[in-house]
Symmetry: C2
Subunit: 357 residues, 2 copies
């Protein structure tokens, strides 16, 4: 497909947290949309969503809905992707899938455009979008890896509720209101009770515990290894994207009471020495990165600043004195944008640019 | 002093977040209080605080206030401690100081009773209580260190606002109310705006940034090294308490929108191998630790569970596969209790028990 060609686009999961952001990103980046098909569960069919000024009707997801589609952006969960993505490819669409369904398949490229765009060459019609926490970590780590060779990564995450979908956003909102109602604050005499007395009553609770004024050291389900699936996604996807199949990576993934944008504390050990100043210079010109690293004037990444942006904010860059060639940094990135929708649309842009073989 | 002797106690900073908790802990642990003197700034003098059923009057902090005092518990900040603690010692009191003023002084014991009670021997009248994040980390790490020899620690914290004092609790409360007012949520159509539009107007803001629905990668002030003072407290105090002057430690300290209890993701490398099962067995009987490590049934430490408890909750214990002899764990502990008041009162209990030389 040539660069200027306009294409027929399907957005699968159009009413979800990521799907909504996909539509916003397609408009903001002026993606060359000819026809647009909004697909979702039959429950959402019939709803109307504005796109470039006109209301588009949501249709029920069926296999035939992919007829005539050039690019299908999937974000409706792994089981929907497993069922419908191969069918969309069969009917001629290129699929960019935001679920975990195909990420580790050897014939499916797993791509962060700033990191490994070459992995798109020779694709079979299906491209996987990595996990949000992995993307946000690798955008700043990839330049360091290229320059100095990363030998080990330790990461702990501070993940926003929107990563668990629109209902988790509502859970944080409703729980927070209820906890505040339990508190008594009047003229200097106050009492804060942060644990909800009654929890599951009428609330939607996609998260496994109370999230208001709490942190939950569980993102996704637990595996037999006592790691969560999210933590192992960060290990396996990082290795695949960096093409470093045995790279030592250890992650602790934690949900925090933040609506949008994930943050991460990252320790890396490099094979070759690289100074903090060299890292700053490298990241200052790295694509997809915005340096926010002037702590003396209060500049460092925060989720409320990263929310709504495509760039991953990077700061608190410093030596890890506890090991040879150690570095520490702190990143915040919008999990719905660069962590999902923006990355998927960027992949689609590359695919229709004609620069992919 | 013999075990049964009742003593005259002064609480310095009695109206603050830690001071209030000190009074609660003294009552709950039935500390043998003969006389009690509540000391605070002249601004708070005259206030009355209940203790064992009777209202005690707060007095202004003066040097003469320590006449006749046996044990003085300080938690009024480093500058108050620097000015008044030596004077209290001169007048015959034993001081347990919760500030950072004297922690690294070579003639001042820095004590976690479960870890290094022997450091109290030969004290000069002044004992320092460690930083809350350090205490909460070392209660579970000390048994591992004794058994397997810790060679390196990496820690990222999830610290509650109460660690920054009573006003920071109020900041989180007030900011949260304001952010919720900015959100529109009605019948499935909602919009969340998590960044406060107007911030500093009428709010007390001891924290350097908005904390509601945000995380702040800054606790205490920045040093020239680009580390914060809090992060370096965790390094230096850990080395002093474990008597391991060159132990490699690296910390990233982060404030999260939680009222009470700090959590920490901790990676340790040990000199000798130790299995996850051995660590669990060790921690199951370790003093001051409560194991919460059954993820398959949803049991893991969370700050809303740790709040109000003296035990440090430990869970998510697993192998760190990225390094030889690596372990990962997750802890939550009440920063006002074990992280401050309980630890100080435990030290005072040891001092009056007659078991200290």
């Amino acid at each position: 497909m040539s660069r200027r060609k306009r294409v027929n686009v399907a957005v699968v999961g159009a009413t979800g947290a990521v799907g909504t952001e996909m539509l916003r990103v397609l408009q903001q980046r002026r993606f060359p949309v000819k026809g647009l098909r909004l697909l979702a569960s039959s429950r959402s069919a019939g709803r109307r969503i504005p796109f470039h000024g006109s209301a588009r009707r949501v249709e029920a997801l069926t296999k035939r809905a992919f007829d005539g589609i050039d690019v299908a952006l999937f974000s409706a969960g792994a089981s929907r992707s497993l069922e419908f993505a191969p069918e969309a490819v069969r009917r001629g669409a290129i699929v960019v899938d935001n679920s975990s369904a195909f990420r580790m398949a050897s014939d499916v490229p797993l791509v962060v455009p700033e990191v490994n765009p070459h992995a798109l060459n020779g694709h079979q019609g299906l491209i996987a979008n990595p996990n949000c926490s992995t993307i946000i970590m690798l955008v700043p780590l990839a330049p360091i890896h290229r320059r100095a060779g990363i030998a080990r990564i330790i990461v702990s995450t501070y993940q926003s509720v929107s990563g668990a979908g629109a209902k988790a956003v509502l859970q944080l909102y409703e729980e927070t209101k209820r906890v505040l109602r339990q508190c008594r604050v009047a003229s200097g005499q106050w009492r804060v009770r942060s644990k909800l007395v009654t929890r599951h009553s009428s609330l939607v609770t996609p998260l496994p515990k109370q999230i208001a004024f709490n942190v939950i050291p569980q993102v996704d389900v637990f595996l037999d290894s006592a790691y969560t699936k999210e933590e192992m996604k960060m290990v396996h996807e990082t290795r695949k994207i960096l093409e470093a199949p045995r790279l030592p990576v250890s992650a602790t993934c934690v949900r925090v009471p933040v609506f949008f944008a994930h943050s991460e504390a990252v320790w890396v050990e490099t094979r070759r020495p690289i100074s903090v100043e060299q890292v700053r210079a490298l990241l200052r010109r790295a694509p997809g990165v915005a340096l926010a690293d002037a702590p003396s004037v209060g500049s460092y990444p925060q989720p409320i600043e990263a929310a709504g942006q495509d760039a991953v904010l990077v700061g608190r860059i410093r030596r890890d004195e506890s090991v040879r060639n150690g570095l520490v940094l702190w990143v915040s990135g919008d999990n719905l944008r660069k962590g999902a929708a923006t990355n998927a649309v960027q992949i689609a842009e590359l695919l229709i640019s004609g620069r992919v073989n």
